[in-house]
Symmetry: C2
Subunit: 164 residues, 2 copies
């Protein structure tokens, strides 16, 4: 047993060289979960590269936007809005504070909680990142098409909100 197929090597020419990649995805091909993951990771990868150009971590973008839009938000609220565990936020906020982009102080009425706000420097960085993110979005929009975008987002939101 040695040839082009059977239990052993697969998709090799008669001289053993590898041939293209007609992968059989089976049910994965039409299942939502798998395609959702592949799309998300491709999009994230693209955004990640774009972010690198301006020297920022891609994860910082949503964080800064949420602080900007909700001045005084607490870390727990922020982690919830951002879909991450609150413990993941600890080092992120630490970094943002250290770099002078975010101001963080105990709330008057609840000494356990922190109140987060952007500093002027933070606002500047966010403006920059937003420009970058907008380019990324335009790219995605073009791919999806104006016509389907709204419905697409509606479905994504529904999945995020309603899956048990």
């Amino acid at each position: 047993m040695h040839g082009t197929s059977g239990t052993g090597g697969r998709r090799r020419g008669r001289n053993g060289e590898a041939i293209g990649l007609p992968i059989n995805f089976g049910p994965l091909a039409y299942w939502v979960g798998f395609n959702l993951r592949m799309a998300q990771e491709a999009a994230f990868q693209a955004f990640s590269h774009r972010s690198q150009e301006i020297g920022e971590s891609p994860g910082r973008f949503a964080t800064l936007t949420l602080i900007a839009r909700n001045p005084g938000i607490s870390q727990t609220e922020l982690s919830l809005a951002n879909g991450r565990d609150k413990s993941s936020l600890t080092p992120v906020v630490e970094d943002l504070v250290r770099r002078g982009l975010v101001e963080r102080r105990r709330m008057d009425n609840d000494r356990r909680a922190y109140s987060l706000n952007l500093t002027p420097a933070g606002k500047k960085v966010l403006t920059n990142m937003t420009r970058c993110a907008r380019r990324h979005e335009r790219n995605l929009d073009q791919l999806i098409g104006e016509r389907d975008r709204k419905k697409f987002i509606r479905i994504l939101k529904k999945i995020a909100a309603e899956i048990e």
Copy 2:
């Protein structure tokens, strides 16, 4: 300065108790990237819990399916099809082989590459996982609706394939 709003604490009642969560998402609300991430993570979380019920790691499912559908596939091909770096696959395959679900042997015609195949035990486990995944899929399908599913998947595939 001390009240219910301003630079400091936010969205607190006049007695300081926290109030609901009318978070302002700003542009994130209608951007594809953010919603894609939130949906993917929610779906993954749900599948993860479901997988736990049958005592399997959620990541194993796609791996086993791809091996089943492409007998003799190499690790590099597999990692590509699965959208992960090949180095991530090393410990996964190691685990699957250790548990007797996957058989792995050097290819005759290329002694660098491994040829992966499911063992009978592996097939059994996959059958079980597939049942579980199908429940998850049905759930997603219901959320999306028969009508929009096809288009939704088409868009996801397009994003995965074409984003630069």
